[in-house]
Symmetry: C2
Subunit: 328 residues, 2 copies
């Protein structure tokens, strides 16, 4: 996290440390080798945006510290579990610059460790003793799986529209941000209107987050991402910038034909893929995607009017920044 | 189900049909191909012992029909989800005589469908609106994953003792029977003593069920199992009969050496494996394992003294029979 932002979150840092402790406790496994791998995975976790969002969405109303910390740990663990399965499905070797579990364990063991972490996250959700929090938790898990299934089943098809892209990334990514903010507000005993607004706030930043992710995958290279540019493209996953670039191409142009072959997995030559990435960058599609991400952040910021506590509002505003102004 | 047992369960059949409907609803997926596969999987489900157990454990006290049916559907769907991941891990092509999802979909899609079914089962658990039921549900999922992880991590090692075998099959199989019975009793507003007794009843029949499963894998052949005998052995999974057989062999005997090589995955010749299976059958290890399964069923039956309703008690007694007297 940037030094400048650490100050803004100072008021929440203690609670975030407690989330960290609960996370590590919950991810404990009895087998020495697996245990140290899972611990490493959990400890080197990313920016903790989701638990931070949950804590703040709760602090914005009547803060129930214990419950919020428990739910926040549950949300982060759910996210971790889903990354474990994702990396297994993509056969990814690296995540956040660290070797994934795939490189050290059989595929079967990795699937089961993902399941185990799902179970532990559900145990944390149940520990809030709030039926509503558990229901949000379960339906969020459903939405994530649905989005990931959509991604898998829609892969290799360039003929997708923006609506299906948005539905897919809402499920895959935004639903957990929405769910985290909603759980926070529910734990904070907010009114139904406030809960709905916080949920949409989370949904908006989740959408912005994923669009920025999809942009980074095409705009940056190995140095920044720790993997070559165009990873989605290579997997046949059509993201917003690619979609916007495709819209600039005539139906039977050679450029479109080459793009179609890459998405279909028929063209895997690095030089050809590299030249298509250059063309996407030059087409203005990335700027256009950035503008769309910006619309989601603006919508998110607009919803913060309902938060009366100034410090909490400033922190939530900073989360909006963190989702869009980032390099990984 | 045998005709003779259908009569015994007649009083519960209507509710079991409602469980079936909730199951099919919950497993609905938006994609035509996947949907029909998942529907097929759910509809051709096994003997529905777990939901039956939950319904009866609830009926034994103050029956809350709606809640019990919802939880029963959740338990069966959790079981189905776990089979989907199991079959993916084992790369099994057949389950209950039907082709598994593995034969029709990519491994990634199968993992995600398993996750999706886990999510739907958690949504059903949450729909009971009982914090306690959800907590049992989540910790049961944790226990199942733990048992399956144990099986994977302990595979290929003949030097296991019976305690570690029992711990492993309790997690993998008995925990869900125990959880189902416990949830039923909780929904039925039983006393804490009654809840604990029903939980242990479920645990006992779950242990018997898995031991019988392990016996069948060695005693029967393709005709009965739909797969060749000794599947566990081929996967390096050491089960009770194998363990009991190994105990009859001298440490440096050629028979023990050959068994060790099969478990280690170094010996895959069908004729050699067949001769070891014959030796297990001839050693008395299978009879001994049957006696141990019988002890668990006797313990289960003994716990039924707490059930006052005669029809419910008879049905629960029949479940004990069904777990041990079966050919698949």
């Amino acid at each position: 996290m940037r030094v400048s932002t650490a100050d803004v979150f100072e008021a929440t840092q203690n609670d975030l440390d407690l989330v960290e402790q609960r996370l590590l406790q919950a991810a404990r496994i009895d087998y020495p080798v697996v245990s140290s791998l899972v611990n490493g995975l959990v400890a080197t976790g990313g920016k903790r945006l989701r638990p931070l969002l949950l804590l703040l969405a709760s602090k914005a109303f009547t803060y129930d510290r214990d419950r919020a910390i428990t739910a926040a740990a549950g949300v982060e663990l759910l996210h971790t579990a889903s990354l474990v399965h994702d990396d297994n499905i993509d056969r990814a070797a690296l995540r956040r610059g660290q070797p994934t579990l795939n490189t050290q364990l059989s595929s079967g063991a990795v699937i089961l460790i993902g399941d185990y972490l799902f179970a532990q996250s559900a145990i944390l959700a149940a520990a809030t003793e709030s039926v509503r929090v558990v229901a949000i938790f379960a339906s969020t898990l459903g939405a994530i799986c649905d989005g990931q299934l959509l991604e898998t089943l829609q892969a290799h098809d360039l003929g997708q529209d923006r609506a299906s892209y948005e539905k897919r990334i809402y499920g895959k990514t935004a639903s957990l941000f929405a769910g985290a903010a909603e759980m926070g507000a529910v734990i904070g005993q907010a009114t139904e209107t406030e809960i709905a607004e916080m949920r949409d706030f989370g949904g908006d930043i989740g959408m912005a987050f994923q669009i920025v992710d999809d942009i980074l995958d095409l705009r940056e290279g190995t140095q920044v991402l720790g993997k070559p540019a165009g990873n989605d493209l290579r997997q046949g996953v059509v993201t917003l910038p690619t979609m916007l670039y495709a819209a600039t191409l005539a139906q039977d142009s050679p450029q479109r034909e080459v793009l179609e072959r890459i998405v279909a997995g028929e063209e895997t030559d690095d030089a050809v893929i590299g030249s298509v990435i250059d063309a996407v960058r030059a087409s203005g599609a990335i700027d256009q995607a950035e503008r769309i991400a910006g619309e989601y952040s603006a919508s998110a910021r607009n919803r913060l009017r309902i938060v009366r506590d100034e410090s909490v509002r400033r922190q939530l505003d900073e989360i909006v920044d963190l989702t869009v102004i980032r390099s990984y």
